[in-house]
């Protein structure tokens, strides 16, 4: 049974808890990885985004009507969570480092799981640093998750202007050019 079918049947049976659990089992690790990569210089923000994603998942699963695939839907939730944390970024994290704030910040920091991003080579890190949220998402969804263009377009349209798949392809091409130039500058490729 595919995850989509399993989730649909659990939702029909109003067993939202198991439906959310099934989604989390199937897509949780990939989404957590993507969010931690997007926020690689600030793991707290990555965990915050994942936490926000999980919360949206639990809260909205009862309303999921199968209008898109489960995979598209959860990546939309993940992207929305990432966008929301980015917007709150400075507001939440980079504000005052005064007494009260430092305490509050420290208290919000969770116990970390053992799983952490591995250190990358300096040059590769510089390239990664050049990627913004949408660029990392685009790259991962297309090359790592191997999603079709129209599904990526649907995900990337979730929190702003609608984007069609042709525009996504163009963005991807531009991104490749940008990374190619940067990589050449870093001596990573000829």
């Amino acid at each position: 049974m595919s995850v989509d079918t399993l989730v649909a049947s659990l939702i029909a049976a109003r067993d939202y808890r198991h439906a959310a659990d099934a989604v989390m089992r199937e897509y949780g690790p990939g989404i957590r990885g993507l969010l931690l990569t997007i926020f690689r210089r600030n793991p707290d923000a990555g965990e915050e985004a994942f936490s926000l994603f999980a919360e949206s998942l639990w809260r909205s699963i009862a309303g999921f009507r199968g209008e898109s695939s489960v995979r598209t839907w959860v990546y939309i939730l993940a992207r929305n969570a990432a966008v929301s944390v980015t917007r709150e970024g400075w507001h939440k994290l980079g504000r005052r480092l005064n007494t009260g704030e430092a305490e509050r910040l420290a208290e919000e920091v969770r116990t970390r799981s053992g799983v952490r991003l591995e250190r990358q080579s300096t040059a590769l890190t510089a390239l990664r640093d050049a990627l913004d949220l949408d660029e990392q998402t685009l790259l991962t969804l297309r090359l790592d998750e191997r999603l079709p263009w129209d599904e990526i377009a649907q995900i990337m349209s979730s929190s702003g202007e609608p984007i069609d798949s042709a525009a996504v392809r163009q963005r991807f091409a531009r991104l490749k050019t940008k990374l190619g130039e940067l990589a050449r500058g870093q001596g990573l490729i000829q």
Binding site: R17, R25, G33, E88, A102, E107, E118, L143, D144, Q190
Partner: protein, 972 residues
């Protein structure tokens, strides 16, 4: 195709794939939804969750075939055993299932479901030995009882060729009936996801296990020896990191007065590094322990105390039942715990029935409801952690928390309607005290039906008729008739009170969403409007938005209970600047409901934010009495005690919070308290212990901060740079690092780091950037940058421009600063500091120091300004009494580190102190202080003014001379 692809398409594609690839880390167990009570796993039926760990979740479950309760460990997908496959699990589990011994927890069964593999054990009640050791070493008799039980368990298993491989206090369970059980025999290593391949916990691992040898029974005996040593002394013989792979370490000696010689000899033999030197068989160890016990047998058995305590509680419960036969005298209160609702309707909106019952009982003058957090905390304290309060767990928790009655709400469908029930159960397990039922034709009628049930319960619990009439429960009218709205509201309240260390902790912003959704269900829900107005007041909301919610709450005032209406009115008074009226209203509510936690907090918090620490203190003390684990009141209480100089009480609180059994939040507070008490060394020691106990980022930050307070910036930097192995630094860690670099005079690096930070989470807003630049420029002596940053900060974010402005006044141009400060709130600490400094610079030093001294009393560690103690040190150093300078520096060093300016100011304050000591004729002391400063500045930028000043002072102070020849220098 791009240019670069045409040159080397393969390499670009590979690179892109590498960039696209993301790790797939496990999702922490906290995100697993868990299993509902009633769910079947194999033949077992889940009853409640009793714990979680890295391996998965433990549930209490019912085995319907044998009619017994069991503990079911559901291993999460991705855990080590789950990855190794079913056959492997079967082999391992069958070996363990062969063991049958009174001192070994029985593995009943194992299996796999689509949700993961599971193991089924007998269900135990009591606490682990590690919990027990948290309270100190064991008395000899108890030690022998535990030791013999464990040794007998080991001997039986070794006879069956099963090794434990990870014997440690956490795997030994002291049951409530006095029995001792060894847990996870032979399979403990399954649960240690990242542990060594041979299993084991460093402190208890035999040397041969360090070399990844499988070991034999003698490895278990080594661990047993470590265990005996720990039970005797409370200390680990080879420390927390164990014997290690490298140079063999010597065991810490056993104190002679703690144990008879024969027991000491046995323990020392067990922890020999050479396996050949340890006892040759586990049976020999059992015999030796039996012989020791025979010679020491005492008539008193301390480990039976729990049973006696339980008997005493039984008597107490009988007394309660007798007491319930009459109406209670006025003012006499009983405490009630409310179990999670037994919701058989399948409608999630009824999951929060318990909260409705608790809210309705808030009107009672007789029944005081214990918070769910308090119940769970009582369970945790006794080693009975649970996530769900069903009837069974509820009775135990109610008993532990000292509740007189457990109220159990239940709901089921009945045709088109619902039947609601409320039972009163004595926690000791006797017959139900009462059962009340009511029918609701639809969901909208449920609140009214609950009102009936609660009224019955209040009568049954002998509340006075007058009180019932005066403050009836009117849920439907007073809150909302929409259950979904109520559910969202309660979840919002939960969100606001969640402990900061919990995985689900969310900032106040996220809590607002619950109340907003509640209003989506019932736009007239007054309390949801009030909560939003409350949250928005501190969140920088626009006045119209805040006012709209406040007005909506006020419109429904007549519907609210007297208490709720008073709370809304008090907040309105506060928002309108009538704090005295707000405080008087809170006082009135508290006169009627002295244990109302929310109002105690509101009143204390209002005093707190008015900086009236003395008045705030009793409210937080009362809250502490009601909810010992709640963090916010404790945090505020500790700050009040610190500011008002109640050192003895603060020290007592710190000792309590710093105890090994305290919550992580409590320990963190104790670390801060020790810094406030002027004992950074003790703070560092406690922070090290907390970090060793669990490597959380918070604990590492605390250690770095304590080291900062102690002036050890080298180690503080190391811990700040490595919040957790192999992860990049977060924004806040980097800001802390900027402060630490500033303390060491490494401004070139600090500026570089600050600049690189602007791209971390998107572009740093210019107001924030100016705020940070101003603080750093003040330290590096770049006054032009300081001037520019202060001006920009005032223009862009006047509410946050305080610190750069005060520094501008202090170090550069008080006139310019005074002009800019007109944009600040004139009553703010920053504005008053600028005015004081300007007065000082005009020559009125007495007025300046008096104003700053006053500020220090009311706001000693301001958020948006500079600590008055530091300013006093600076101003007094420019011509005041040197002993005042030294004292001000001492007070400044007691402030918990925070703020970029604190780094360089800490170092500069040492120069001020050294000069003051020189003036006071204390050259030795001055030399030591300036040497300490030079040590901190070892890696300072070469041209740093502070470094030059420190060197000049050091040269002037010269080399120490023999004591006899030293004469005090006259003060200049």
């Amino acid at each position: 195709m791009t240019t670069h692809e045409s040159r080397d398409p393969g390499s670009l594609s590979r690179l892109l794939s590498e960039l696209a690839e993301v790790p797939r880390p496990d999702v922490p167990a906290a995100y697993a939804a868990g299993l509902r009570p009633g769910t079947s796993v194999g033949r077992f039926i889940i009853e409640r969750e009793i714990g979680r760990g890295g391996f998965g979740v433990v549930y209490a479950a019912l085995d319907p075939e044998l009619g017994r309760s069991v503990a079911l460990k559901l291993l999460k997908p991705g855990s080590s055993p789950a990855r190794k496959g079913g056959e492997w699990l079967r082999r391992e589990a069958e070996a363990v299932a062969r063991l049958s011994h009174a001192n070994i927890v029985t593995l009943h069964d194992f299996g796999r479901t689509p949700g993961g593999a599971y193991l089924v054990f007998e269900l135990l009640r009591g606490e682990t030995l590690s919990g027990r050791l948290g309270r100190g070493p064991l008395p000899l008799e108890e030690l022998l009882h535990v030791g013999l039980s464990v040794a007998r368990a080991l001997a039986h298993a070794h006879d069956e060729s099963v090794l434990h491989r990870d014997l440690k206090p956490a795997n030994i369970f002291l049951c409530a009936d006095g029995t001792v059980k060894v847990l996870d025999f032979g399979i403990a290593h399954l649960f240690e996801k990242d542990g060594p391949s041979t299993g084991g916990t460093p402190a208890y691992m035999a040397p041969e296990q360090w070399w990844e040898e499988t070991g034999d029974a003698r490895s278990d005996l080594f661990a047993f020896g470590v265990l005996l040593h720990e039970m005797l002394t409370g200390e680990l013989p080879f420390g927390k990191s164990g014997v290690g792979k490298t140079a063999p370490r010597l065991a810490a000696a056993l104190p002679r007065d703690r144990a008879p010689a024969r027991l000491r000899r046995l323990t020392e033999a067990l922890i020999q590094l050479d396996p050949q030197a340890r006892p040759g068989s586990t049976h020999l160890v059992v015999q030796e322990l039996e012989a020791i016990e025979a010679t020491l047998r005492q008539p008193r058995h301390p480990w039976r105390i729990p049973a006696l305590a339980a008997a005493a509680l039984l008597v107490g419960a009988a007394g309660l039942v007798a007491g319930l036969q009459r109406e209670s005298p006025a003012g006499e209160r009983i405490t009630a715990a409310v179990a999670d609702a037994e919701n058989a309707t399948g409608d999630a909106d009824l999951d929060r029935l318990s909260d409705l019952v608790a809210v309705a009982l808030g009107e009672s003058r007789r029944v005081q409801v214990l918070t769910r957090e308090r119940l769970l905390a009582a369970g945790r304290g006794a080693g009975n952690a649970t996530a769900r309060v069903d009837v069974r767990a509820g009775k135990l928790l109610a008993e532990l928390a000292g509740a007189h009655v457990l109220l159990v709400p239940a709901a089921r469908r009945d045709g088109d309607g619902f039947v609601l029930q409320l039972r009163g159960e004595p926690p000791d397990g006797g017959p139900a005290l009462f059962t009340a039922s009511a029918r609701a034709e639809g969901k909208a009628e449920i609140p009214a039906a609950l009102d009936q049930l609660v009224a019955t319960a209040r009568r049954e619990l002998k509340e006075r008729g007058d009180d019932l009439k005066r403050s009836p429960s009117r849920l439907a009218a007073m809150t909302t008739s929409s259950l979904p709205a109520f559910r969202e509201y309660i979840e919002g309240v939960d969100c606001m009170s969640r402990p900061s260390e919990s995985a689900g902790h969310a900032g106040p912003d996220r809590c607002k969403a619950f109340f907003q959704r509640a209003l989506g269900h019932d736009p007239a829900f007054a309390l949801a409007h009030y909560q939003l107005a409350y949250l928005l007041s501190s969140g920088g909301a626009t006045r119209p938005e805040l006012r709209a919610h406040m007005d909506a709450a006020l419109r429904s005032l007549q519907r609210l209970s007297r208490r709720d209406a008073a709370v809304v009115l008090a907040w309105k008074a506060h928002l309108d600047g009538r704090d005295e009226e707000a405080l008087a209203t809170y006082a009135q509510v508290l006169a009627e409901h002295p244990d109302d936690r929310a109002v105690l907090f509101l009143a204390g918090d209002l005093h707190f934010h008015r900086r009236d620490w003395t008045s705030a203190t009793p409210y937080f003390q009362a809250l502490r009495g009601l909810d010992p684990d709640a963090e916010w009141p404790l945090d505020h209480l500790a700050q009040c005690l610190a500011i008002t100089g109640r050192g003895a009480e603060l020290r007592e609180l710190a000792a309590l919070l710093g105890a090994p059994s305290a919550t992580p939040g409590g320990q963190r507070l104790a670390i801060r308290a020790l810094v406030w008490l002027g004992d950074p060394t003790a703070a560092v020691a406690l922070a090290r212990k907390a970090l060793a106990a669990g490597a959380t980022v918070g604990a590492r930050h605390d250690l770095a901060a304590a080291l900062f307070a102690a002036g050890d910036f080298v180690e503080a930097e190391r811990h700040t740079r490595q919040p957790i192995a192999n992860s990049p630094l977060g924004v806040e860690e980097q800001l802390r690092l900027v402060a630490i670099l500033g303390a060491q005079g490494r401004f070139a690096e600090a500026w570089h780091l600050l600049r690189s930070l602007t791209h971390e989470v998107g572009e740093m807003p210019p107001g924030d950037l100016a705020y940070f630049r101003g603080q750093l420029a003040a330290g590096s002596g770049e006054l032009g940058v300081l001037r520019d940053a202060a001006t920009t900060a005032v223009k862009l974010q006047p509410e946050a421009a305080g610190a750069p402005l005060v520094l501008l006044a202090l170090l550069d141009d008080p006139t310019l600063a005074s002009g800019l400060a007109s944009a600040l709130d004139p009553g703010s600490t920053a504005a008053r500091e600028v005015a004081a400094i300007a007065a000082g610079r005009r020559g009125d030093r007495a007025a300046a120091t008096a104003a700053l001294a006053l500020l220090e009393r009311s706001d000693p560690w301001p958020d948006e300004a500079i600590a008055p103690a530091y300013l006093l040190a600076e101003l007094t150093a420019a011509g005041g009494d040197p002993s005042d300078v030294a004292a001000a520096v001492g007070r400044f060093h007691r402030i918990w580190p925070g703020g970029l300016w604190r780094g360089w100011a800490w170092s500069r304050s040492l120069l001020l102190a050294a000069r003051a000591e020189e003036q006071l004729g204390q050259p030795e002391k001055a030399r030591a202080t300036v040497d300490r400063l030079l040590l901190v500045l070892q890696r300072a930028d070469p041209g740093l003014a502070l470094l030059a000043e420190a060197r000049a002072l050091r040269q002037r102070l010269g080399q120490p001379r023999p004591a006899a020849a030293t004469a005090p220098r006259p003060a200049p």
